[in-house]
């Protein structure tokens, strides 16, 4: 096995996983949770607050929701970090990386904390 001088594979792996979720899962939730349920187009009984609360209380669902929120944040962080570089901002690359991934980590912690409390 070989060694490399960077942990970029970690960020890129999270970026890739986040891209998958942002492309395939988030649109479904935006449609169902963001539009169909509020518009009353989904069966109201099936999505009653009590049932949703019971659903979210399950550990597997919590884990799913954490991934759903956290990974796209890392996708954004990586994309935004390189977007700034592509726009010609070369200075402070380490600081930018810290801020981007830091924001994603903070978002992940907030999401985890919220999920633990519900």
């Amino acid at each position: 096995m070989y060694k490399i001088n960077t942990i970029e594979p970690l960020w890129w792996g999270l970026f890739g996983a986040g891209g998958f979720i942002a492309a395939f899962l988030l649109p479904v939730h935006m449609l169902v949770n963001g539009m169909l349920i509020p518009l009353g187009a989904a069966p109201q009984e099936a999505y009653s607050p009590q049932r949703l609360a019971a659903l979210v209380s399950h550990p597997v669902v919590k884990l799913y929701l954490l991934a759903l929120v956290s990974l796209p944040l890392f996708h954004w962080a990586h994309r935004f970090r390189y977007l700034l570089f592509d726009l010609g901002i070369h200075g402070g690359r380490t600081a930018i990386a810290f801020l981007c991934y830091g924001a994603a980590i903070v978002g992940t912690v907030v999401a985890a904390w919220t999920l633990v409390r519900v």
Binding site: M1, Y2, E8, P9, L10, W12, G13, G16, F85, D86
Partner: protein, 251 residues
């Protein structure tokens, strides 16, 4: 009928004389079977023998005659005047490289990077393997298909010239070197992957690439360096997570 002509605006830089590159315009006869390289040769023969540019084969194989033609990196032996006529053609040295003289750029940086990725077959048993008929390192056609397109690279450096990342970060290993490393990593006869991965998987390697994809657009041999880089990112990420999750594993 009067002879048709075409204008060529050529970048000149004479070290010691010019402080910075200047452009000089030549008007030359137009022939629809001429390429930009022919036009430069005509200028050198008839107008100014001091015009300097690199070329060798005139048939898209050697990779020496890469220049910016109307702002796009091209092999000048494959850029026909008829695609620009009647407009003037602007010929400049390859972007992102230091200029030595006129249209000649300094390629040392690329040559060093190319050597770093060890673009040749590495085997432990090269010295000890039996030689002669029947003892060659055999390969099935499907195994050739794994790397064939990446082996078409002629080191013309058009991809470096087209790469905005290389333009901003000269330490970036760059498209062709990574594509060639990938070519040998994918070769079933090769055993040198672990020697190349620390170079191409480093922070100056694949991770600088922001997947703009211009390298693959300008390649005159239809190599797809952007794909080589993406595939290497995936492979490196798999290896990295595996080494974290299963530190005892060999691969």
């Amino acid at each position: 009928m009067a002879e048709r002509t075409i204008g060529l605006s050529v970048t000149r830089f004479r070290p010691g004389e010019d402080r910075q590159p200047v452009s000089q315009t030549f008007t030359i006869p137009y022939h629809d079977d001429w390429v930009v390289l022919d036009a430069l040769q005509y200028i050198k023969d008839r107008h100014d023998g001091s015009l300097s540019f690199r070329w060798s084969c005139h048939m898209g194989v050697c990779g020496s005659c890469g220049m910016m033609v109307n702002g796009v990196p091209k092999l000048t032996c494959a850029a026909f005047l008829r695609d620009y006529f009647p407009n003037e053609v602007r010929v400049e040295p390859l972007a992102n490289f230091p200029v030595i003289r006129d249209l000649v750029v300094d390629i040392d940086d690329f040559m060093h990077k190319l050597a770093e990725v060890k673009p040749y077959i590495i085997r432990d048993d090269l010295e000890t393997a039996p030689v002669g008929f029947g003892h060659e390192f055999r390969q099935a056609p499907e195994e050739v298909d794994d790397y064939r397109q990446f082996s078409m690279c002629i080191n013309c450096m058009l991809c470096y010239s087209a790469c905005p990342v290389y333009g901003m970060e000269p330490r970036f290993l760059g498209p062709a070197a990574i594509a060639l490393a990938h070519r040998y990593n994918m070769d079933s006869r090769d055993q040198g992957r672990n020697e190349r991965m620390p170079v191409i998987g480093s922070s100056e390697g694949i991770w600088e690439c922001t997947y703009i994809g211009e390298c693959s657009v300008v390649c005159p041999k239809n190599v797809d360096p952007a794909s080589a880089i993406q595939r290497t990112k995936l492979a490196t990420t798999n290896d990295w997570f595996r080494s974290i999750l299963m530190p005892w594993g060999k691969r």
